[in-house]
């Protein structure tokens, strides 16, 4: 008799059990994917809101500038026209518009509010540059200096570059911890563990099969995430060494399974296992940087985030998938995740019980 046949057959049984469970399938695969669609949709298309400028009476300088540099200027400012000067000024006071502009002959006046320094500053700067460029073109000479602006980050680092790896991390964490803890408690309370113990198959085969199924499911999750995020609407651009995310995902799953095993070995009932799992996964997802980037978080929060294994998975995947760092950049994180897997498994083995009694 071959252990490998038992392994294959058990894996098949567990995989069938998983795909036939619509709820689990929805929670581990579709639910995180839905988050990706929502987050990617909202933040992926976010532009800094434009400056709203109200023209009182005719302002030919601004109109000319708009006509000339149409695309660029429209991207940063929105122009409204008004004949009611008082109403336009009130709009600025209330913050509904950022500035009011009037033209008398060759003199332009900008009215702004001191309430929002940043926005009024932007509005004034914009008007300044419009007036200067109109002055320059009025002189009839070609401009001597040209300015081109370039962002320092890779210009592909959009929201989707962050959300794809970090939401995938959350999906893997909840699938791993839930899967392992529920399986263990269910098998114990239903007596499946007892049946397995009474068979001559080595216990390692049984657990190996369960782990293998989790790893396959995780790779499917990853493939789905990457496919959806790469749709033109979301526009994920995978970096050169994205494939390093595969060993990251696998070691992450091992870590989360180990955590789930600890919960499953400890918990007496499915309800207890479910509650504790939530208690572990949700804070880990929030503080581990799955729902918002931790780059701008306060120092103490950043430090705290490193107690969560998910933090390492998110960071490692973000580095290789989103930021385009080299393959070696993920190695420390993989090391930490595998360490968690080993320690978790050892604790789980100590807590393990065959029987509910």
């Amino acid at each position: 008799m071959s252990t490998f046949d038992s392994f294959k057959s058990l894996s098949r049984a567990m995989f069938l059990g998983f795909v036939r469970d619509r709820t689990a399938l929805g929670f581990t695969v579709l639910f995180p994917l839905m988050f990706l669609v929502i987050f990617g949709g909202i933040f992926g298309h976010q532009t800094t809101s434009r400056v709203t400028l109200v023209e009182v009476g005719p302002v030919p300088v601004v109109d000319q500038a708009l006509a000339r540099g149409a695309g660029e200027l429209h991207g940063v400012m929105k122009v409204e026209k008004s004949t009611d000067r008082a109403a336009a000024l009130r709009k600025v006071e209330k913050g509904d518009a950022d500035a009011v502009v009037e033209q008398r002959g060759t003199d332009l006046t900008v009215h702004y509010s001191a309430a929002d320094q940043v926005r009024s500053g932007t509005a004034r700067g914009l008007m300044q540059s419009i007036v200067q460029s109109e002055n320059q073109s009025a002189s009839g000479k070609p401009p001597v200096y040209k300015l081109a602006s370039q962002q320092v980050e890779d210009d592909s680092l959009k929201a989707i570059q962050f959300f794809t790896p970090s939401l995938l991390g959350w999906a893997l964490a909840s699938a791993g911890v839930f899967g392992a803890s529920q399986t263990l408690v269910t098998w114990r309370t239903k007596g499946i563990l007892r049946r397995l113990r009474l068979s001559p198959a080595p216990i390692s085969t049984v657990f190996g099969a369960r782990v293998a199924v989790s790893l396959v499911v995780a790779l499917v999750q990853m493939a789905l995430f990457l496919l959806v995020a790469q749709l033109p609407f979301f526009g994920l651009k995978l970096q050169e060494y994205w494939w390093m995310a595969i060993p990251m995902v696998l070691s992450g799953v091992l870590a989360f399974l180990a955590i789930g095993m600890v919960i499953g070995a400890w918990a007496k009932t499915q309800e207890a296992a479910q509650g504790v799992t939530q208690l572990v996964v949700l804070p880990m997802a929030f503080l581990g940087g799955s729902f918002f980037p931790l780059d701008d978080a306060p120092g103490w929060l950043k430090t705290l985030s490193y107690i969560f294994p998910l933090r390492y998975l998110n960071e490692g995947m973000l580095n290789v998938m989103g930021r385009g760092l080299g393959p070696a950049s993920a190695l420390p994180q993989i090391g930490v995740l595998l360490g968690v897997a080993v320690v978790g498994s050892l604790v789980a083995v100590r807590l393990f019980r065959w029987d509910a009694a």
Partner: protein
């Protein structure tokens, strides 16, 4: 002769409770052996020790000539254990369950269909376990225990929570398995079940075996009277007392019950008086044996 199971002085304590308190018995090859007793008698613990799921505190134990503790992979393929009817992988069909459990023993997948037929579930092969009735799940559970063709089968209260029809159905299955030459050890708290199925029963209470033997021998050893009952009004109580061989007569307004140690004489006399309307004759049962042994009514 080498016994299939030999148990000597088995003891097991849980905290303050002495669950098994010096149990000894042997089971021969091909025997249908029953352990009978109320809940908490120590039946299940005894069985679990023999199966190798628990370690005994004291005692000698051999199963098929081998010690079952610690977990013995040489012994495990030779025994089959029927567990509670819920011990299945979730969301798999009856056939898939059998294939999966079979694979743990290296049994080819095609064996599953033969097993389903053996327990009368061939038409349920593609039904998921969650959809099976209690009796069907119980039969599938037995099929799972038999899938690797064990020499020795353990059944722990297989008919608990089944309706009478399903119980009878299961008894047929079990008798068939036993006639194939397999040794079966069964625990039950149903007296009738033990009487019908078992070659020998051990009556257990409070961790010890009170009596052991074939059910008819135990019952006869009681020398308990037979009870003949007829409908009230067919025969007057006074007339009944005058029947030859009648020991005691009681009339509760529904039935008249005559206790006797010579039922043939009593029945012959009743027949002569044409007073056999609604007659029922009941001999002593294991229930009476239990009452006699413990002084307590048997309550399952």
């Amino acid at each position: 002769m080498a016994y299939t199971i030999a148990v000597e002085g088995l003891r097991k304590r849980y905290g303050d409770v002495q669950a098994v308190d010096g149990v000894s018995f042997e089971v021969a090859e091909g025997e249908f052996f029953g352990i009978l007793g109320p809940n908490g008698a120590g039946k299940t613990t005894t069985l679990e020790i023999i199966e190798g799921l628990r370690e005994a505190d004291a005692g000698e134990l051999s199963v098929l000539g081998l010690p079952p503790w610690p977990r013995n992979p040489k012994l495990l393929p030779r025994i089959g254990v029927q567990l509670q009817a819920s011990s299945f992988f979730e969301r798999l069909t009856a056939r898939e369950q059998l294939q999966t459990f079979g694979s743990l023993y290296g049994v080819p997948a095609k064996k599953a269909d033969a097993m389903l037929e053996a327990v009368g579930l061939d038409d349920k092969a593609d039904v998921r376990v969650e959809k099976l009735s209690g009796g069907q799940a119980q039969r599938l559970s037995i099929a799972c225990a038999l899938v690797h063709d064990p020499e020795l089968l353990f059944l722990d209260e297989p008919t608990a929570a089944l309706d009478p029809q399903a119980r009878r159905n299961l008894w047929d299955v079990l008798q068939k398995i036993n006639t194939e030459g397999r040794t079966i050890v069964l625990t039950t708290h149903y007296m009738d079940e033990a009487e019908i199925l078992c070659d020998r029963v051990a009556i257990m209470d409070r961790g010890t075996i009170l009596k052991l033997g074939p059910p008819p021998v135990l019952v006869r050893g009681l020398d308990a009277p037979a009870r003949i009952s007829i409908a009230t009004g067919v025969l007057a109580a006074d007339a009944a007392r005058r029947l030859p061989g009648a020991d005691e007569v009681a009339d509760d307004g529904v039935s008249l019950v005559i206790s006797t140690r010579d039922p043939s004489a009593v029945v012959a006399a009743m027949a002569a008086e044409n007073a056999l309307t609604g007659v029922q004759i009941r001999g002593a049962t294991l229930e009476d044996v239990f009452l006699d042994l413990t002084g307590r009514e048997y309550r399952a």
